[in-house]
């Protein structure tokens, strides 16, 4: 097995606001090995992007409360001085964002933006950096890269801009790439080719990838491991095959149950479970998922409403946060996945 290059340990990120602290990330832990892909799934507001941005040190440390550890190649990002962080960002770890339309600076040529990315981290001439930029654009599949390099972002389509973003993120051959919903804003036809590009580059560069997505189809295609987030916490984590074959947390079951619906209406955002996401300022007592969970009444003594379940391993690679005993959870999963009742009010 490859070495661990990233380990997130009990990461917590809170944003103080007038109404109270928004606890966007509440004790997230996971590991990622070189060349592997970790998918983070969860509905909107579950803290995926804040987690990702914390890993790059992009969350403002003066306005947010950040605790826990993010150990990247042996160094703790959370405690690292800015200067050191600048040297890692874009060089050893980089990120691509959801919206390629707004993620490139509208006033600079894409060549200039790529060259800048090279020259922050490498001592090369402008000309050499430009050659690297063209080479990289070619690699991400931009036709006529030597001409396109002088285009402004508005002269490119959304898919092409995302390719440019990918080129920029990978130009210094980082060990870690975080892709925060890289295809959500793109046409369905373009989505597949962008994903293919990312996985192809991963294989040639041995890059570790964190893929944040709403789309379980994407998870099935690219992920080695999956982390399911709910209300700022990890509720289940397992290798991808196991998540699909034997999910154990009721929220994960709900997510999986929504796949056929997505087939019917591919544009629909994934939000199949009745009820609303929890408040991050004053989350429900007990299990954060309990107001929406159809299995909460199966647990004795109202523990779902009073006691926060821990994230406990059911195997060395599979952890679950739920009060229901493991054996019973497996039975629930089996019946749920065979097409029986899955979410409250869902007769499918």
């Amino acid at each position: 097995m490859n070495e661990v290059i990233l380990s997130v340990d009990n990461l917590r990120v809170g944003f103080p606001t007038e109404d109270g602290v928004v606890q966007a990330v509440n004790g997230v832990s996971f590991e990622l090995r070189r060349g592997q892909t970790l998918a983070i799934v969860g509905e909107s507001g579950s803290g995926k992007s804040v987690t990702a941005q914390s890993i790059l040190g992009l969350i403002n440390r003066r306005t947010a409360d950040i605790s826990g550890k993010v150990i990247f190649q042996g160094q703790d990002i959370v405690a690292m001085p800015d200067k050191q962080l600048y040297r890692l960002r874009g060089a050893k770890m980089s990120m691509i964002f959801q919206d390629p339309m707004s993620s490139l600076h509208p006033y600079y040529r894409i060549g200039a933006q790529l060259i800048e990315a090279v020259r922050i981290h490498q001592r090369v001439s402008k000309q050499q950096a430009r050659e690297q930029a063209i080479e990289m654009l070619r690699m991400v599949g931009i036709p006529a890269a030597e001409r396109r390099v002088d285009d402004f972002p508005h002269q490119l389509s959304g898919g092409m801009r995302q390719r440019v973003m990918i080129a920029m993120a990978l130009i210094n051959s980082p060990a870690l790439l975080i892709a925060d919903e890289p295809t959500t804003a793109l046409d369905v036809t373009v989505q597949a080719s962008i994903l293919e590009l990312i996985t192809q580059i991963q294989q040639t560069h041995d890059t570790a990838i964190i893929m944040i997505t709403h789309d379980l189809g994407v998870v099935a295609d690219v992920a080695d491991d999956v982390v399911v987030m709910y209300g700022g916490s990890v509720v289940e984590s397992a290798p991808v095959a196991e998540i699909f074959a034997s999910p154990q947390m009721p929220y994960t079951l709900g997510l999986l149950a929504s796949i056929p619906r997505l087939d019917r209406d591919p544009d629909r955002r994934l939000d199949p479970i009745p009820g609303n996401p929890p408040s991050l300022i004053s989350p429900p007592a007990g299990c954060v998922f309990n107001p929406r969970c159809v299995y909460a009444d199966r647990v004795d003594g109202n523990r779902c409403q009073s006691q926060l379940p821990e994230l406990l391993p059911v195997s060395p690679v599979h952890s679950v946060r739920c009060h229901i005993p493991a054996a019973e959870r497996e039975a629930i999963a089996r019946s749920a996945l065979s097409g029986l009742v899955i979410g409250a009010g869902d007769p499918a």
């Binding site: 800015d82 960002r89 980089s94 600076h105 040529r109 402004f152």
Partner: protein, 332 residues
């Protein structure tokens, strides 16, 4: 792009024509009788009537305007049609001041250098100071550097210019005698005296204007700092200094350039109070004396010149937009 430029230049000419008409009509509606005002002490109705003819004021406004426009391109004489005692005002003739016995162009030309130097020097100072402090405040937002910069800016912003001018004049020149009493000379004649004279007016104007640019730059920076491409710039590994001073500044520059262009144009039309406080022989003080006198041809001339500066500044600002934002270039 060149088609765009041609169109803009044509528009500029059209605006100048309309503007000069408006100014002309406006001033002809004034109750002041120029023929009488140009008459001096020993005045009789006959002299006033003769003046009226000499100045062409017996004609309709439309005819007067036509003569005025012709004067700009071909020069004119007073009275119209010439004669043995006629005054010649060569092209481009913006009118003749009988109060000062000089062409309006001469009067403005004498005063323009002081105003231009004042405006340019102050402009460079307040743009640099305003933008640098604004970026600095944005970079250190919420911290003591931000708070002190914004505190000083608020103070500078709320000071009336005559007050600031007089206080500076009183302390620096009269009380502490750090600088000689201002007496304008051309920088080519006596650079030292020129700088000693201009230093305080520059600083006073810079303080007044920089405060505005500090606030504008800071708020622009804070707005653009929330953009996605700023996050991208940070994710590249750029230090915050470059993120704010390059990426965010470039993106937020448009309103700053707009305000800067118009402020410069305004200053070129004369900084009335500052020129008066520091006794600078500029357009502003010429305008004041033309109002007090009153000297209508000079006022018309100054109004037109100022409007000309504003229109040209607008054109330059628009061209700068295209230089800043490539998307404008394509649309144009």
């Amino acid at each position: 792009m060149s088609g765009y430029l041609v169109r803009r230049l044509m528009l500029l000419v059209l605006m100048l024509v309309l503007l000069s008409m408006a100014v002309f009509v406006l001033f002809s509606l004034l109750p002041a009788d120029v023929a009488r005002l140009s008459c001096g002490k020993a005045c009789t109705p006959e002299i006033i009537e003769a003046n009226r003819i000499r100045l062409g004021l017996d004609k309709s406004v439309i005819e007067q305007y036509w003569v005025f426009v012709k004067g700009i391109f071909a020069g004119r004489t007073y009275p119209e049609g010439g004669g043995p005692a006629a005054l010649v005002c060569a092209a481009p003739c913006l009118g003749y001041s009988f109060r000062k016995n000089a062409t309006v162009l001469q009067l403005i030309g004498e005063r323009l250098p002081a105003t231009i130097w004042l405006a340019l020097g102050a402009f460079v100072l307040f743009m640099v100071v305003g933008m640098v402090t604004g970026v600095l405040a944005a970079l250190r937002r919420g911290r003591w550097q931000d708070k002190s910069i914004m505190g000083v800016a608020l103070l500078g912003y709320s000071l009336p210019s005559f007050f600031l001018g007089l206080v500076v004049l009183f302390f620096v020149i009269i009380r502490w005698k750090l600088l000689p009493y201002p007496s304008y000379v051309s920088p080519f004649e006596n650079p030292e005296q020129f700088f000693k004279t201009m230093l305080l007016p520059w600083i006073v104007l810079a303080i007044l204007y920089a405060a505005f640019y500090t606030r504008l730059t800071r708020s622009q920076m804070l707005e653009t700092l929330g953009e996605d491409y700023i996050r991208t710039a940070r994710a590249k590994g750029l230090p915050e200094r470059t993120v704010v001073g390059k990426h965010a500044l470039r993106a937020g520059l448009t309103p700053i350039v707009t305000a800067g262009g118009l402020d410069l144009a305004g200053l070129l039309g004369g900084a009335i109070i500052t020129e008066s406080v520091f006794s600078l022989p500029g357009i502003g003080s010429l305008a004041v004396s033309a109002v007090v006198d009153p000297d209508l041809p000079v006022l018309v001339g100054i109004t037109l010149i100022t409007a000309f500066f504003v229109i040209v500044a607008n054109l330059i600002v628009d061209l700068l937009y295209a230089a800043i934002d490539p998307r404008v270039r394509v649309a144009a």
